[in-house]
């Protein structure tokens, strides 16, 4: 395959596979690139310069860099539900069929109507919006803001459910090496040779870092030779893991690193069962940061014109991708490094019109090079670039002030490099200024992290290799992995690193950009200084400098330098911003992993779940559980019909309900009773063996925490039940009480919630049914097994079970517990035994109706804001013992007479419906907060009474039975006259219970 369709592709060279052409589309036109290309290199190979429009002014923008720092070349990658906005073309590996659209332009990239903003530019300076759009106030939401919002933003999110899946993973290592360039590889080799477990990550799909972009020699041979040998050795070390396409995005406490691995992003769609991305939590005892450095642009008029490119990026495109970023180049450099670009351009056949360098006394080796490649040397600076959608010429100003225009389609800019030290500041430590290299270098480091090579401001290849080897070795040795003799550091070819940075060239015509992506100009920074936004955080927040998706990777320093110039301070006096994680933006899906949709959190299934399914249950989420809500029968069209039937079946006959979800805690020990005395507000010492008791637990602050029945199975053996919702919380609480408060108590506890399936059998015929289930040797007659009896029995011919005579419904009722595996068999056996009695399965709705009919409190009343007294349970609070919450429950506010207390309600007009959440207001009183007397906690339709009933908390409630009041429900436009009544609506004498 020839490169003829790619006019800017070099004939040979580079790390692309010319035998594997790939088709792709950009803005709906078809192009070709090669395997090994990035989208950016493929676009450049096809002569595409204009790739996007800027954020505020909609200026035409091209490709600035060849890496993750790219501020301009952001595209919408892929289409439909897979569309990924703001994707950097420079790090997007080309794949067959890739589709990308330019963004932030309308109607088209070449002709963008919003570029009119450029004309408004003078008014749209930093902070302009703080100064206007204030009148009239209502216009903000109606007019100004919608306009601003529509114009703002970059790409368009897919807006559809992401079809790909993600996962998480956890890894551990002795030494994590971040960055797979020469320093990182040397570090991984040194650590790996010692036997340490090493993980080497690089964001690129290919290891080698800058070596891939440079024409360098190591030990007298092309660097590629060293590189392949080093990678082969790493691959041979069993405890070294190499992770390509893996970005270490954040440094967290105690050696935890966040890493995102782009498993399938280099493919059109993920292969079957493969995630798109995987987010890793890597725990490393030591880490070496070898993330390299990021080249710095120079601020001058028109510096954002497509065709102005970082000089190092030019070398990447030439050498790694075999692409000519232009045909007529000018190099503008403030250091020796730019001259290398001139050399490489010439070697690739690009005409270098001039090398512009403001420095005097440049190394003659460099100036000699210019002569050999036929480039003019101009001592001066580029003051402006012109061309609009593609660079046509640059204005060069000599030291004398003389200006001339030089035609070119590529300007390579070199202003030195900033260490990629972002990760070092993730724990809020600040980088420090190194005057010798005119750059910030890492300051105080996160514990366990060291920095090698360019990331430490040691920019030469020789330093990278030496640093890497030394730090990799030291990191391993630090934790006990000693290497044999240190191998000699490889010898590299010479390189120049002299630099005298130029932050800004003033006086050119047009806007000079500091932050390309947020369209922050030098004038914006000057304005910020004028208005007093001088501290660097103010500068950043006022101008939005460094706040774009690139977090200012190419802009922060120039911004600081210009502010320093305005305030007459140095750069370090002006300050630096700390970089916040993530290093590069991370897909939300990746960090969520498996946990979305149904898998957001585990679902707990009762051991009788499939039995309920077979009975046709409608299920409902109840905290972590799925519970049977009701069991509709054919012909029942609404839930209330089903629930009414279930309630009446229980009240008139017998019903069966799964209650396995209750928390069950086995408590044993000589002091178990004493322990219960302290955690419950009511007494437990006197509870007889074989009996159950209702217990109420307070928090230490005196409010009710949880309730449940606790049974004494033996002298030193109790079984506590908790509410479903609080099971875990109560277990933790009891462990706290035992381990922290009262370690001297001889008590042991363990959750047995999962082992037991439990069902309530309730209704006048419950005993008759149970007698057909419980093995005959157990006498469960009313005399032998009275109310609140709790004993071990057997069922089904010897299966160990527990039977409790307790009732939530107020009926004669039992709870039967069997090992969970027998849960469904128990339900079947109870149904079979009950068939003659018309037994009916009932769900949580009917359970709720019956507990409201009986005035029992549940979750809506146990709100954490109620006291025992509020709930009518004040008498349970013992005065004879110390227990959790005893003293705080006595506080003034908790015993105030006026506190709303639990009471019952019924509508004066029985046809009217009640609603939980309605507030109580006196008849004739205005519905205002001042007249609010409480609220309805729970309501139900009572099929026994034939009308709605409610429980609620009302000021002086118990003293007001018979009084009428209103249940006001403005959010549902309800206002119902209700009568205050006893909270026990059914069988207030409790005769059914004892039947």
């Amino acid at each position: 395959m020839s490169a003829s369709t790619q006019p800017f592709r070099r004939d040979d060279g580079g790390l692309i596979d010319r035998n594997r052409p790939l088709s792709f589309r950009f803005d709906d036109r078809a192009y070709q690139g090669f395997d090994g290309d990035t989208l950016a290199s493929a676009l450049l190979a096809n002569g595409i310069r204009l790739v996007g429009r800027s954020f505020k002014y909609h200026r035409p923008r091209g490709i600035l860099s060849a890496g993750a720092e790219e501020p301009n070349a952001l595209v919408e990658l892929r289409s439909g539900a897979r569309r990924e906005p703001n994707t950097r073309a420079t790090v997007t590996e080309l794949f067959e069929g890739l589709e990308a659209l330019s963004q932030n332009r309308w109607p088209s990239l070449a002709f963008d109507l919003l570029s009119v903003n450029s004309l408004l530019g003078p008014a749209l300076q930093a902070g302009f919006y703080y100064k206007t759009f204030m009148w009239p106030a209502s216009f903000w939401e109606k007019l100004y803001e919608p306009l601003i919002r529509r114009a703002a933003g970059l790409g368009r999110a897919a807006g559809l459910e992401d079809p790909d899946h993600y996962e998480k993973a956890f890894a551990f290592c002795d030494v994590l090496v971040i960055g797979g360039g020469p320093a990182g590889i040397a570090a991984a080799l040194a650590a790996g040779r010692s036997g340490a477990r090493v993980i080497l990550c690089d964001e690129d799909g290919r290891f080698g870092g800058r070596l891939l972009a440079e024409r360098r020699e190591i030990d007298g041979q092309p660097a590629a030779v060293w590189l392949s040998a080093a990678l082969a050795e790493l691959a041979s070390l069993p405890d070294v893991t190499i992770m390509p396409r893996s970005t270490v995005f954040g440094v967290y406490d105690h050696g935890v690193y966040g890493v995102v691995e782009r498993v399938s992003d280099h493919l059109a769609v993920p292969p079957p069962h493969q995630p798109r991305q995987r987010s890793w939590r890597i725990t490393a005892r030591r880490a070496v940061l070898a993330a390299g450095a990021i080249e710095r642009p120079i601020v001058f008029a028109g510096n954002d014109t497509p065709g102005v490119m970082l000089a190092g990026a030019v070398r990447s495109y030439l050498n790694r991708f075999g692409v000519l970023p232009g045909r007529e180049a000018v190099v503008f450099t403030a250091g020796d490094d730019g001259w290398t670009t001139a050399r490489d351009l010439a070697a690739a056949g690009v005409r270098v019109a001039a090398v512009v360098d403001p420095r005097s006394g440049i190394d003659p080796a460099l100036t000699g090079l210019a002569g050999r490649i036929g480039a003019r040397i101009i001592t001066g600076a580029v003051a402006a670039a012109a061309g609009g959608r593609a660079l046509r010429a640059v204005t060069v100003r000599e030291a004398s002030g003389r200006e001339e225009s030089i035609a070119c389609d590529l300007l390579a800019v070199s202003n030195g490099w900033n260490p990629t030290l972002h990760l070092t500041s993730h724990q809020n430590t600040r980088p420090v200024w190194d005057e010798a290299i005119h750059a910030f270098v890492p300051g105080t480091m996160p514990v366990g992290l060291s920095v090698a090579g360019s990331a430490a401001g040691r920019f030469s290849l020789a330093e990278a290799l030496a640093d890497g080897a030394r730090l990799g070795r030291e990191a391993a040795a630090d934790i006990g992995f000693d290497s044999a003799a240190e191998p000699a550091t490889p010898i590299t070819d010479p390189e120049g690193v002299a630099l005298s940075p130029v932050w800004r060239v003033k006086g050119g015509k047009g806007k000079a950009f500091v932050d390309f992506q947020n369209d922050v100009t030098d004038a914006d920074i000057e304005l910020a200084a004028r208005e007093g936004f001088k501290p660097v955080e103010h500068l950043k927040r006022y101008t939005t400098l460094g706040m774009a998706t690139d977090q200012g990777k190419t802009s922060n320093i120039a911004g600081l330098a210009i502010m320093a110039e305005q305030t007459g301070q140095t750069i370090p006096q002006t300050g630096t911003t700390i970089f916040r994680p993530p290093y590069t933006p991370v897909a939300i899906g990746a960090l969520a992993g498996h946990h979305r949709g149904r898998d957001f959190r585990p679902t707990r299934m009762s051991p009788t779940h499939s039995w309920s399914q077979r009975q046709g249950a409608v299920f409902i989420e109840a905290g972590a559980w799925m519970r049977a809500q009701y069991y509709p029968r054919p012909g029942e069209t609404d839930w209330l019909t089903s629930v009414n039937r279930e309630v009446l079946a229980v009240r008139n006959g017998v019903g069966l309900c799964d209650v396995s979800t209750l928390g069950k805690i086995d408590i044993q020990g000589a002091d178990a009773a004493d322990f219960l005395e302290r955690v419950y507000c009511n007494g437990f010492k006197a509870l007889q063996v074989g009996k159950a008791r209702y217990g109420l637990m307070l928090r230490e602050d005196g409010f009710v925490m949880d309730d449940g029945t606790t049974s004494r199975l033996g002298e030193t053996h109790f079984l506590m039940t908790t509410t479903t919702a609080n099971a875990g919380k109560v277990m933790q609480h009891l462990e706290f009480c035992h381990q922290v408060l009262w370690p001297r108590l001889d008590v042991r506890m363990v959750s047995v919630s999962e082992h037991w399936a439990q069902a309530a059998i309730a209704g006048p015929k419950a005993r008759a049914v149970l007698q057909g289930v419980v093995d005959a040797e157990h006498d469960i007659s009313n005399e032998a097994f009275p109310y609140l009896a709790a004993r071990a029995v057997t069922v089904g011919g010897g299966i160990p079970a527990r039977l409790f005579r307790i009732s939530f419904s107020g009926e004669l009722a039992y709870e039967l517990a069997v090992p969970a595996g027998y849960g469904e068999a128990m339900m079947d056996a109870v149904m079979a035994a009950g068939s003659a009695h018309g037994i009916t399965p009932y769900g949580t709705e009917a359970l709720g109706v019956m507990r409201i009919e009986k005035g029992h409190v549940a979750g809506n009343e146990l709100s954490g804001q109620t006291t025992a007294r509020d709930l009518g349970l004040g008498k349970m609070m013992s005065s004879k013992k110390d227990y959790l919450g005893r003293l705080m429950a006595r506080r003034e506010a908790l015993v105030e007479a006026e506190r709303p207390c639990l009471i019952g309600f019924r509508p004066v007009d029985p046809a009217q419906r009640l609603r939980a959440g309605a507030h109580f207001i006196g008849i004739g009183k205005p519905a205002t907060m001042q007249h609010d007397e409480g609220y309805m906690t729970s309501v139900a339709y009572s099929p026994v009474l034939g009308h709605w009933i409610g429980l609620g908390l009302l000021k002086n409630g118990p003293q007001r039975i018979g009084e009428r009041i209103r249940a006001v429900d403005p959010v549902r436009e309800g206002d119902v006259e209700i009568e205050i009544c006893s909270p026990v609506f059914v069988d207030p004498e409790g005769t059914r219970l004892h039947g």
Partner: protein
């Protein structure tokens, strides 16, 4: 963040839940005063620096632990079981 559980070894913070300052001691018994209890329940030193605090290894061994941690840096100086903490606590 990692916490080295004395029973289980170093584990991710995700396995633990936090209660707070380990210093306040519950005024136990019938003689305790409401004021002392209110202080125990509500008042905290809340230092910026070394802090002895209670953590619960809920997703692990269910042990309550005393962790000495710097609230400015999150650096952990010690993790003790309740028994160790009591043995080492100043009288």
């Amino acid at each position: 963040m990692r916490i080295a559980c004395p029973h289980c070894g170093p584990r991710d913070v995700q396995e633990f839940s936090y209660l707070g300052d380990a210093k306040p001691q519950r005024p136990d018994g019938m003689d305790a005063t409401e004021a002392a209890m209110a202080d125990y329940v509500h008042q905290r030193d809340n230092p910026a620096g070394s802090h002895r605090e209670l953590w619960y290894h809920g997703a692990g061994c269910h042990a309550w632990l005393v962790v000495t941690r710097d609230t400015r840096t999150h650096a952990i100086a010690a993790v003790e079981t309740m028994a160790q903490a009591r043995a080492g606590a100043p009288a």
